[in-house]
């Protein structure tokens, strides 16, 4: 089955699936592919964007189309670069940064039409309902895993959870994933930052050797779980995707900051792990702000993926744990 690539949590996966192509979230990130991506963009581009470009370029025959959003500048421009370097059709969806329902509504409308044209299919209430039900039931299942992760003590590791979410983001429900149900009494932390990529599992495991991530908010991972479509119609899809907890690029950013604070409280977190990619400036700005306003210790990891597994990273994580323990 051909894939329909997409870049952002604001793009309704149900609409993509209606095309008959498999929705595949572009969430690649590792040292090698990111280096290779420098063929298309400058070194100081987002390392995930570089990885994704490499992935798209090397697998261009797999993709029927790419759907992007204006969510962040680099990911929007990533599709410009993809369009110039491949023959894959590209659709870019206008995702307003401010509270502007009109634009969002019109753009969902546009996206729907374009997807219909692309797939030569007519979406109808029945097919829409069908698709929403399918994805919603998947999310219900994921939420139960997430609840076990959030339980105190936590029952599921985020590394495991990441594997399940990977299946979801790649539209591969049928993939076999093993869930680690190991109960953990380690310090409970919240994970923030730019996208956790498919290749980030190792770093999650490294963190979870000492800590337990019980909740997260970033461009990938559990964001999809905030999508709870009540009414299985186009309007319902629009309503839900528009109203999801705002990403860091929304202005003003108050709702984002509040959301993070509320979640860390709800989950009884004792610390925050903030993982950002190099050159992801907007996230960097917000994280610094969170660090200054939130009442929890923050472990900062900023990298272009190459930090993964380094001894410095291990030292940092261990020192963070020592710090958390000395505080309680």
């Amino acid at each position: 089955m051909q894939l329909i690539g997409y870049t952002c949590s604001y793009i309704p996966v149900e609409l993509l699936a209606l095309t008959g192509f498999r929705p595949y979230r572009l969430l690649h990130g590792d040292v090698d592919s990111s280096k290779r991506g420098e063929k298309f963009v400058r070194v100081d581009a987002c390392p995930m964007v570089k990885s994704n470009l490499d992935h798209i370029f090397r697998n261009q025959n797999d993709f029927a189309a790419l759907v992007g959003s204006t969510g962040c500048d680099m990911s929007r421009r990533m599709l410009d670069v993809a369009a110039e370097n491949t023959r894959i059709p590209v659709l870019v969806f206008n995702n307003p940064r401010t509270d502007n329902r009109t634009i969002f509504h019109d753009e969902i409308d546009w996206l729907t039409q374009r997807l219909e044209r692309l797939s030569r299919r007519q979406f109808n209430p029945a097919s829409i309902q069908n698709e929403v039900t399918k994805w919603e039931s998947m999310r219900v299942e994921l939420r139960t895993i997430d609840e076990r992760r959030a339980a105190n003590p936590s029952q599921v590791s985020t590394a495991s959870f990441h594997e399940v979410m990977t299946a979801y983001c790649q539209g591969a429900f049928d993939r076999d994933v093993s869930i680690c149900r190991e109960r953990a009494d380690r310090p409970r932390v919240y994970l923030l930052g730019s996208a956790i990529t498919y290749e980030s599992n190792a770093i999650l495991r490294l963190i979870e050797d000492h800590l337990r991530i019980v909740g997260d908010f970033n461009c990938g991972l559990s964001r999809a779980l905030d999508i709870r479509i009540q009414e299985p119609t186009l309007a319902g899809i629009e309503e839900t995707y528009y109203g999801q907890p705002p990403c860091v690029f929304k202005r003003p950013d108050r709702r984002f900051i509040d959301h993070v604070r509320d979640e860390t409280r709800r989950l009884n977190c004792t610390g925050v792990v903030a993982w950002t990619l190099d050159y992801c400036d907007a996230y960097e700005f917000e994280l610094r702000k969170i660090e200054r306003t939130i009442d929890l210790p923050v472990l900062r990891i900023r990298s272009d993926f190459s930090l993964q597994g380094s001894s410095q990273l291990r030292t940092r994580i261990e020192a963070f744990v020592e710090m958390l323990c000395s505080k309680t």
Partner: protein, 463 residues
Amino acid sequence: MFEDIAPAKIGLEEWSRQFACVSDDLIRRYTYYGNNEWGIYLSPPATFMVYGARELKKLKYDNSLAALRLWGFTFNESERLFRARQNGMRVIATMGDLGTVPVIVMAFPSCIPFYPDCTWWTPFFNESTVLLDKASELGVPEASCFVRSSLAAFYKRAYFPKPEALFASTGASCDDYSALMQMVQDLGHDLTWLEIPYRRQRHEEDDPEEFCGTEQGYQYAARFDNYLANEYRRVWDKMRALTGNGDTAELKRSIRKANRLRRLVAKIKKTAGQASVAPFPALEMMVVEFGNLYGYGDIDEWTDIVEMVHNTVSERAAKGTGVLGPDAVPIAWITPTADPLLLNVAENLGARIVETEYVINQAHVEIDENIDPFLALARSFMNASLIGSTSERVRRIRDSVNQGRIKGVIISNMLGCSHCAMETRLIEEKLKDLPVLSIDVPAPMGITEQLRTRISAFMETLR
């Protein structure tokens, strides 16, 4: 006295000597908002150097009265704004928008629009890390755009008065900007956000009726104009609430003023580009171009200056005189340089900049005077190259390069600037048949010998 001087680029000391011959009457003629008490515009560049603009020591300037007025206007902005505020005028910050909101603001009596964003040049003119260091201290990542110095300026309250209202754009404009302006809002300012839609380019299969085009040939869905027009109406409402008045006839007048300025600048660019010898230096040309953003702060004076520049350029072009030799190699310059000195350096090394793409195209097109003013403003803004796809920007660059007799292209990048990071490779690729040099301006005082050598070698290949 200026009539008899042959055009040349001169240094600080020569300007001081030349200035000694300027009559007191002339000095008193150019004042802030035509008001003698508030302050004068004219002084030689040395004055601003004494007040801390250290780079001025290294620069060479055009020796015309027009250029003198140009610099006077630019470097007196800070004082002018404070004086305006002291005299009861309202100072309004328009950020990240570049070219449109100030036109609305100046339709309100005693409201002065200004661009805090222009502080991004201050570290370069001052050869100083004062503002950049403060920005870091305030929590701005060091690899982000130099516009971060404007946050420090807001914090320090020494570069412009506290604005009574701020308008800031977000959306398809620039992420770093928008993150910074969020920090400005957090400092406690009354800030209104504007949504800038992404100008999605038209696809072949799209229904032609829904589409419209810009002056520069971009095609996009007509509804985007309406989104933007609505945002501008919000600016209008906000300004009305602030000032208690608001007359659309004034807005139309203000649009006419903007158009007059824009027409003049377009004529200058054209005349200068076509002249046999470069009639005006690249640095002053850049100041003129960017005046379409910040000139609204004292629009009458600025238009008068630009008019004078136009006369100077036309006269020189007609006579075939200018500031560079006839053998200077015509090139195009892409993306404005953070360091003004670089334009001077490039000229010294034999370049003549005849075409520019400073990502401020929206500020150069005329605003339609015959339709609803908000819609007209929106349409003019849709010409912005940053809000569309890179492919479109590249195409436009391509077109302009083809028209001229351009021998090479210099792309000036900034580390950490997202559009540079993403676009430069594509631009290089698409201009493959022309020699292209892509350079980085790292930071104040970053023009190293190595960078000079690179430009120099590039110019040698073009000869």
